[in-house]
Symmetry: C2
Subunit: 272 residues, 2 copies
Amino acid sequence: MASTEHFTTATSEMDEEKEAPPPQDLTLGWVRDALVRQEDSIVFALIERARFPYNAPAYDPSLLPQQGGRSLVEAFARGAEVLQAKFGRYQNPEEVPFFPDDLPAPSVIPYNFPEVFHPASAYVTENNAIWNMYFNDLLPLFTVEGDDGNYTSTAAADLVCLQALSRRIHYGKYVAEVKFRDAPQDYMTAICAKDRDALMKLLTFEAVEEMVKRRVLKKAMVFGQTVTLEDKTFDDETKYKVDPAVVARLYDEWVIPLTKDVEVEYLLRRLD
Amino acid sequence: MASTEHFTTATSEMDEEKEAPPPQDLTLGWVRDALVRQEDSIVFALIERARFPYNAPAYDPSLLPQQGGRSLVEAFARGAEVLQAKFGRYQNPEEVPFFPDDLPAPSVIPYNFPEVFHPASAYVTENNAIWNMYFNDLLPLFTVEGDDGNYTSTAAADLVCLQALSRRIHYGKYVAEVKFRDAPQDYMTAICAKDRDALMKLLTFEAVEEMVKRRVLKKAMVFGQTVTLEDKTFDDETKYKVDPAVVARLYDEWVIPLTKDVEVEYLLRRLD
């Protein structure tokens, strides 16, 4: 375990952020950099959703009687996934659809994405849990009450949030794969015994998780501040576009645990 | 003119940012706040597009032979606008489609958006200019060369940029309307004479434009920095996700001039 102890679902601190396709010889450093960069995307997405009030009608199935009990946001997300599938979004194994059952085959020339995931583990998905968490728990925490009529823009902003969260959480597949490759013997026993608790313990590094939560809190402060030409310091009076404590809680209660769920489910299938 | 001298296409400095539906009695303060808030959205959108390399195949019509000479990004944007129109996006007069000719009627219960714009002026659009500027001029300035295969995610990120820019630039309609209402006599002569140059002069406040450019440059530095738990200061070695000078240039060469074009075209029709 020594070689991976500094690294977990949560990521360690770093100086540079960049994103590039996964190298064929997947490294901890690459996964870590990608996870850190995705924190920015998640914070931006939440801030952009918070431009709109809650907009309850977007979540009320009675707004769209002809959609068979689907809310505007669900009907929109399904339509957007169909469109994106057609143009090849889900050829990239990093992208996991929320509604995989009705997606068309892509009509573009296939791109040769590197095959990194173990085939039996590649289809692990936590998207149902992410969808429910986002709408039931998270959304009311960072939007204000109100209805400004911008339901489609709201649904589009929701989908950007959901896709960013899903991408981040399913990067747990990379985390699990790289950890397994680095030290398969550490995981074999627990995998063979289908011992979820033992795997969860092997994948948990509380100090790193604490650091990630502190960093996303800081990102929410930096990116959600009102930037003016005057210099400012952060104080208790500073108003943020999204409450930084909510972003830290999002990671604490949902992003980090769901990522570890992905890792556990991935590893359980890793020897199939 | 005295009452509007501090305000133009460009916006003055402020302490609070928020977004709310336009009040029936449209005010300078409301338009100004909305424009300042939209700077953040534009910077976020550019940073998120810059996650991907240029991805030339997304702009090459030969990738999609069955799309009749359309690039993936154009076919995707058309499909996304059809989907968004169906769910009512363009019921809001602030939202201007890039491909208005083939949009379906919305299938949602109409929302009663306030009617602020003069009817003859409401349909002014600079979206062709925005589309061409974005792909021909701006995009190569803030993306790196390369091809990572994420063409649909790239196209979706492009559309977020385009919609944010279009929204900001077409807010020129609010600017023109509020200025006209505040002092119609200042604009009457130039409108009746169809004197574009005189209108442009009336709408130009260089000191305010300079301030806006400095503020968006600062926003690109703040939002595009790599946030770590250590304290940092900005220096010449700081790397940003999007070059702040490009964001300042975007406003200088394109956003501010195109917004003023919207204002001029709006005012030219204001007495019809």
